[in-house]
């Protein structure tokens, strides 16, 4: 065959496969949304789940997911940014730094179920936090830290060297330079990355099954005292998140409307992840424009 004919066929194949992938993604998203959205209603989003009868909702699970995300971020962000600053600015290029880099890489490729098992052993049993939001938040912190470190490093590497040197030349200490000159410049990158990481946390289930637990005790949404056992704000109560609920409903649900609940909950989860993704992109662009005065 002539080389040009082969080239045309090959181009056709490449385009065909690319189109197939786009179609696959579109139909995947479409399937989840079309099947699930019809089941979403205010009642579904706010009422507690039912075990045997139909008409169960996902209210507590939705609240747990959001609350757990907030708790995790409160713990992750200071540690992750601190560690990222160390790796990017203070670490000297020696064997020790190489080792730490390897550790971060290994931690980021650990399966989430291993992180969950570690959480079960250490946070739930050893420190005796029990199956609780707090244990779950700590497990998710472990799961999320390497990503946070990488994001911070990336952000700081993108700061122009001249800005850093100008600040240092004024006699400002390195730490103040990092805090008040470099971090603001790196903020758009760090912010975008953090929100994307938050989306990932939102959908995580394997690390939570054995740490935050798979049951949701009765919650009293009028009681906002964080120390009370039925208060939604109590971080030491077991909490099933939305992602864990989808898994549980699919594998052991016995209510007659199980498929609809799974579809509705999946749609809610995917919509929230989409919101995180688009939000991160838009916010990143906005902050970048604000800080660099470009169009």
């Amino acid at each position: 065959m002539k080389a040009k004919t082969v080239d045309k066929i090959a181009t056709g194949v490449f385009i065909g496969i690319a189109a197939f992938i786009v179609l696959l993604l579109a139909s995947l998203l479409g399937y989840i949304l079309v099947r699930g959205v019809s089941h979403i209603s205010w009642q579904f989003l706010t009422s507690p789940p039912q075990t045997i009868r139909e008409g169960g909702g996902i209210g507590p699970q939705l609240f747990n997911s959001v609350f757990l995300l907030v708790l995790t971020m409160i713990i992750t962000i200071p540690i992750g940014i601190g560690a990222g600053i160390y790796m990017s600015e203070y670490a000297k290029p020696n064997k020790m730094t190489g080792f730490i880099r390897l550790v971060v890489e290994v931690l980021s490729s650990f399966p989430s179920i291993i992180v969950g098992l570690f959480g079960l052993l250490v946070f739930v049993n050893f420190f005796d936090f029990g199956f609780s939001l707090f244990s779950g938040a700590l497990a998710l912190t472990v799961f999320n830290l390497p990503l946070m470190v990488r994001i911070t490093e990336q952000g700081l590497k993108g700061v122009p060297l001249s800005q850093k040197e100008a600040s240092l030349a004024l006699g400002i200490s390195k730490w103040t330079t990092i805090r008040s000159v470099m971090l603001p410049v790196a903020l758009p990158v760090i912010l975008t990355g953090t929100i994307l990481a938050a989306g990932r946390i939102f959908g995580e289930a394997a690390a939570l099954m054995f740490t935050a637990g798979m049951s949701s005790p009765r919650l009293d949404f009028t009681n906002w005292n964080p120390l009370d056992a039925v208060s939604p704000l109590n971080p030491f109560r077991p909490a099933e998140t939305l992602a864990v609920h989808i898994w549980k409903v699919n594998s052991e649900g016995i209510a007659p409307d199980t498929p609809e609940i799974a579809a509705g909950a999946s749609a809610v989860l995917v919509i929230l992840v989409l919101v995180f993704n688009l939000g991160a992109r838009m916010l990143g662009r906005y902050v970048h424009r604000k800080f660099t005065a470009t169009k």
Partner: protein, 300 residues
């Protein structure tokens, strides 16, 4: 005068610097301590099956029967190991060509459309939670396989398809980066000699970016290997090596997911599950090692 100035202004300066350095160092040490204790705890738990309960390492790795609750408990984990390897490698075999073709399309054929629309969509796909993939697999792929092929639909094939879609973004993103990072001179030289685009791609672009492409594939396999819930939902969870791709089987992760909550800490069954987790962890080290080797090669 100069001395008093130093005493007043110089010291807070140093303190401040010291505080910053100490704070970031504590943060990074937290990370190192966490992973060390993770390795220590999982290893000590996983090894206690052999050291405390006296199960033979060889029996666990090569045994075909898993029946920990029987009168004479059997701990043959080979079906799980086989299930994990077969699903993740099959997933990579499906996803790798697709990812490479998508990357070629985005970089070489339609860069504008690729950068602007296709890449964000593929990144979006990476953000979809694994339970949602499992749910779609359970409600679309399993019924489809059940109707098309003999068997119940659940099994290695369903697991591999779900995993392939899950790791496609990883493989595509790395393949795209590798293609985009290729020096333009290489391609231009090939075009200048009169080769067509396909000849350039197959003889210049693919061979030079091969180590990087392999990195993406290994990363994908590593992710598929550790994925728990999506696979558990579609694989059927029968603890034996299947005779066909459409027969119920198990993986390391699905066995752990299913039984860890039902066994009590310290029992032989529980310890055996920790041994499975240890195998999973050791495989992670192997994958990281392979990726490091490949990255070193692609730099040359």
């Amino acid at each position: 005068m100069a001395k008093s100035y130093d005493r007043l202004e110089g010291k807070p300066h140093l303190t401040e610097e010291w505080v910053g350095k100490a704070y970031t160092f504590v943060c990074i040490m937290f990370l190192v301590i966490t992973i060390s204790s993770m390795v220590y705890f999982v290893a000590s738990k996983g090894l206690s099956t052999f050291l405390v309960n006296g199960v033979n390492v060889g029996d666990l790795l090569t045994g075909l029967k898993w029946n920990p609750e029987a009168d004479i408990p059997l701990f043959g984990a080979l079906p799980f190991i086989f299930g994990s390897f077969s699903t993740s490698i099959l997933a990579a075999i499906i996803a790798a060509p697709l990812g490479f073709c998508a990357a070629v399309f985005m970089v070489e054929i339609a860069p504008k459309f690729g950068r602007k629309y296709m890449q964000p969509v593929i990144e979006l796909l990476a953000g979809i939670p694994s339970v949602v993939y499992g749910f779609v697999g359970l409600s679309v792929i399993v019924p489809f396989f059940r109707d098309t092929f003999p068997g119940q639909g659940i099994g290695i094939a369903a697991g591999a398809v779900v995993l392939a879609v899950m790791i496609l973004p990883t493989i595509t993103t790395i393949a795209t980066d590798a293609l985009a990072a290729l020096p333009a001179g290489l391609k231009e030289g090939s075009y200048a000699l009169g080769s067509t685009r396909y000849q350039t791609i197959s003889r210049i672009v693919l061979p030079t970016t091969l180590p990087a492409q392999m990195t993406g594939i290994v990363l994908g396999i590593a992710r598929a290997f550790g994925e728990a819930l999506a696979v558990q939902m579609v694989i059927g969870n029968a603890p034996h090596i299947p005779h066909s791709l459409f027969e119920s089987t198990s993986t390391l992760t699905s066995a752990i997911t299913l039984s860890m909550g039902n066994t009590s800490m310290g029992s032989v069954h529980n310890n055996a599950l920790w041994s499975l987790a240890l195998i999973l962890m050791l495989m992670t080290f192997v994958f990281v090692f392979i990726i490091r080797m490949l990255e070193r090669r692609s730099k040359l």
